[in-house]
């Protein structure tokens, strides 16, 4: 698995992930919006998946639309709970203004296990998303005029420790397979997708809060034309949580390592040429 963050200069945060033959680029754009009236103190987050025709010719035209919809739906559901991603950190003025994160997911190459790869890339991109500080605000009648800081380093990072990772489990025969390849996906009639919250400790080493070390399910969904017995379903969920935990730890370590390299200016950028 290859992961590189901060690859797109015009995005607030970005990440590119290559998992075997699956290639995904995620860019996070930030914009200012008015919060929803029923949630005045929280921001907004929105996912867009674009299946480019580069990946497979099937995606040409509107071919990939259904797949793209199902992935973005899954992500939206996984990020819904405040335990997974706290939208309150995106608030600027309660009831007046908030940040809206547009997360654009570009699928460059499709080699199986898209959901998992997308969730990993999104978490990595959010981890290095920078939101500028608000320097001053002018109240003009009911309107607010914001003055943002121009300095790109004068910005805050998001707290994404608990952001969920999706794990796909393909049922082949009697067993459930984690991280399926495209061939394995073709073999199975049903797959289960489990979204599991991350652990803050892996992302913020000096975080000492003892709570929230427990992994929780944020979303569960099924995909494919088959069905399963409930016992298999229970086992698969447990298996998915175990897999997600180790995946989360590995992602956290990799991201921290890269950040340290960034600070020391030692990082060598690979970009898309490999």
């Amino acid at each position: 698995m290859e992961l590189e963050t901060d690859v797109v200069s015009h995005a607030s945060g970005s990440a590119r992930l290559r998992l075997a033959n699956t290639d995904i680029l995620v860019g996070v754009k930030t914009e200012i919006d008015i919060p929803k009236p029923d949630k005045p103190d929280s921001g907004k987050i929105e996912f867009f998946v674009d299946c480019s025709a580069n990946a497979t010719p099937e995606f040409e035209g509107r071919g990939g639309e259904q797949l793209a919809n199902s992935i973005s739906n899954m992500m939206q559901k996984a990020y819904h709970s405040a335990e997974a991603f706290n939208l309150k950190q995106l608030c600027i003025f309660e009831g007046k203004q908030c940040w809206k994160l547009y997360i654009d997911i570009l699928i460059l190459e499709c080699g199986g296990n898209l959901c998992d790869a997308v969730s990993l890339a999104v978490k990595a991109a959010l981890f290095n998303t920078r939101i500028p500080f608000v320097k001053a605000a002018l109240m003009d009648g009911g309107n607010i005029d914001l003055q943002l800081s121009d300095d790109p380093f004068d910005s805050k990072l998001l707290d994404v420790g608990t952001a969920p990772l999706l794990v796909t489990l393909c049922k082949i025969g009697d067993k459930c397979v984690v991280d399926p390849s495209a061939e394995e996906e073709n073999c199975s009639v049903i797959s289960l997708i489990v979204g599991v919250t991350g652990n803050k400790r892996h992302y913020y080493p000096n975080h000492t809060d003892k709570q929230c070390t427990e992994s929780k399910c944020t979303t569960i969904g099924m995909n494919g034309p088959g069905s399963v017995v409930s016992k298999t379903l229970k086992d698969a969920i447990k298996q998915g949580i175990v897999a997600a935990k180790s995946l989360d730890e590995a992602l956290g370590q990799a991201l921290l390592k890269e950040r340290q390299q960034n600070i020391g200016m030692k990082k060598h950028s690979y970009g898309f040429l490999k």
Binding site: N73, T197, E214, K216, C217, S227, I241
Partner: protein
């Protein structure tokens, strides 16, 4: 999303008047207290683990004459209509598909919810449609109509919680009514989880609170909908949103499994009633046909006599 300009869409930035009522500003705790009274009863008098499938359930079929099969299901205030149409060739497809396809569409009526719904298809409609298809695909014998698709349309007239479960139940009933070959009766049920309390077959208010994030960290909350083929003991769809630990999920699964089985007799009753009714109808038709034949024969004899006499 493009708007339909032939309709009156109302101003873009209009808000519901309910925002300015006192009820709107109730906090989480206040809303939570309202859901259950001191005796552990919910607002509509049910116990926590009591579904609406027992005494607040109504189902019937054959209400849309144009459709091959149709069903209407009512869970007190949740009202759903479903219609199933004849198989037709899959449009815009070049390849031959071995298995038949299901096309599902879920739509909310504009007046179905507390907040007004725009007539165009939004993200929630789409995700419900996908979930419905996922639930129905394992039940239908799709190998019997290759290269054809069956259309399933669900219209939610009134939404008071558990609308996906109601949609799946209605669609299963409508498919059976349209005599689409199926492996088993499909039933579905949902629970809302708030902290330690499990609300079986939640209402809209309960669902709303379960989706809201509680102020204390680490509490379980969320909604689970599960659909089952009870005879085959197969789970055909499982949808969970929120945040909960694994024990909570497995516990809820056991409850849902039981609840799904409880709905089966309700559906069976309607189906049996249908069969009996169509038998009676056929008998009546046959009797009428016979009567007509006798009358005709009598007429023929008369004419013959007249002809012979002439």
């Amino acid at each position: 999303m493009p708007l339909d300009y032939r309709r009156f869409n109302g101003p873009e930035d209009s808000v519901s008047y309910k925002r300015y009522t006192n009820k709107y500003y109730k906090g989480y705790d206040e809303l939570y207290k309202e859901l259950v009274d001191d005796k552990g009863r919910r607002k509509d008098g049910r116990a926590l683990d009591e579904a609406r499938s027992m005494c607040m359930f109504f189902a019937r079929t054959d209400l849309i004459s144009q459709a091959k099969g149709s069903a209407y299901i009512e869970l007190k205030k949740t009202k759903v209509v479903c219609s199933v149409f004849d198989p037709r060739e899959i449009p815009h497809q070049n390849e031959f598909s071995q298995l038949g396809q299901l096309y599902c569409e879920v739509k909310f009526a504009p007046f179905s919810c507390a907040q007004q719904r725009r007539p165009h298809v939004d993200a929630e409609d789409k995700s419900l449609s996908v979930a419905l298809r996922q639930a129905l695909e394992p039940t239908v014998c799709r190998h019997l109509f290759p290269n054809y698709q069956v259309d399933v349309f669900v219209y939610i007239l009134e939404h008071d919680g558990a609308c996906l479960a109601a949609a799946i139940n209605a669609a299963g009933l409508a498919l059976a009514n349209a005599s689409v070959p199926m492996y088993d009766i499909i039933t579905s049920s949902s629970v809302a989880i708030i902290g330690k309390k499990v609300f079986v077959d939640p209402t809209e208010a309960e669902e709303h609170l379960a989706m809201m994030s509680p102020e204390t960290e680490g509490t379980n909350h969320g909604i689970i909908t599960m659909s089952m083929l009870s005879e085959l003991k197969q789970v055909s769809d499982f949808v969970q949103i929120g945040s909960m630990d694994i024990e909570c999920v497995t516990e809820a699964m056991d409850i849902l499994e039981k609840e799904c089985e409880n709905i089966v007799p309700n559906i069976q009753k309607v189906l049996v009633h249908n069969v009996v009714q169509s038998f009676n109808q056929r008998k009546q038709l046959e009797a009428e046909a016979k009567e007509r034949e006798i009358a005709l024969n009598v007429k023929m004899e008369e004419w013959k006599k007249l002809l012979n006499a002439g």
